[in-house]
Symmetry: C2
Subunit: 162 residues, 2 copies
């Protein structure tokens, strides 16, 4: 696990961008202000999302970010991996190779039994995140968050994109 804050930021930013009117962009400055986080650092996470083709950008005045795909075509795993990277959370340093009894080399040896299970656990983690689409999150939010707040959010975004 490499980036802590930026993952949370990226996920929330994608959720906000999904509420953007057609053809509009929202700039890093607004995304940072909305979430109360440092603009320059958030920019790194947005760059990662851009490179992963999860968001797309426009330069110049009224530029910024918007989703590159429909929310039901974006999984949480995509977003998390774009920012954190695709490497496993468990890193095997092959300490079994240090075994003093290992005087011969075993050419066709499998990966360590312990590492394999740790990686399977990682896969289970990934599978859950892949199952969740951004659109699923949006539905939950609509159910959980008071309508008054949802309206205010819309207004806030509108006032920065017109």
């Amino acid at each position: 696990m490499i980036l802590k804050g930026p993952v949370e930021w990226g996920l929330h930013c994608c959720a906000v961008l999904s509420g953007l009117p057609e053809g509009q962009y929202l700039a890093t400055r607004e995304l940072a202000e909305f979430h109360g986080i440092p603009k320059e650092y958030l920019s790194k996470a947005m760059q990662s999302l851009s490179q992963a083709s999860i968001v797309e950008t426009s330069l110049g005045p009224r530029g910024g970010y918007r989703l590159a795909k429909a929310p039901d075509q974006i999984t949480l795993l995509e977003i998390v991996e774009a920012i954190e990277g695709k490497h496993s959370t468990f890193i095997c340093t092959e300490i079994r190779k240090n075994n003093p009894c290992l005087t011969f080399t075993n050419p066709d040896s499998k990966p360590c039994a312990i590492a394999r299970v740790m990686w399977e656990a990682d896969e289970a983690w990934r599978a859950r995140l892949q199952r969740e689409r951004l659109s699923d999150i949006l539905e939950t939010v609509k159910r959980d968050v008071p309508g008054e707040l949802l309206r205010k959010n819309q207004e806030w975004i509108s006032s920065r994109t017109q």
Copy 2:
């Protein structure tokens, strides 16, 4: 995720301890030598396993560590959590609270929808590790590792416990 190496070390040490003759202990020095890792730092991981009652200790000459339970009563999750801690890998800093539109307080609000899914993914990870017992690992190792190496390991351990 806090400790990286020590988790791998702790898992391997438990596997080694499971091959210990009845009534015998293996000291940190041997465990460190067997895995080619720093003795003093490994000691921290072993202390965590001891506090979690996964291993038990004996002081004085011929002292050291042994498993506190049968290998089929120890899950990988226990070992990992003893060393890494039980906290979730995803840390929600509640950035939603920084929303400038949030002018009122929502007393009975649920945890953030995004955090909930991230925590569910964490649960899936835990579930896989809880399903795997140390005895399962030992069986896999017996199948995968050449008998010659297994024998040498046994001898190596015996020569340090007599």
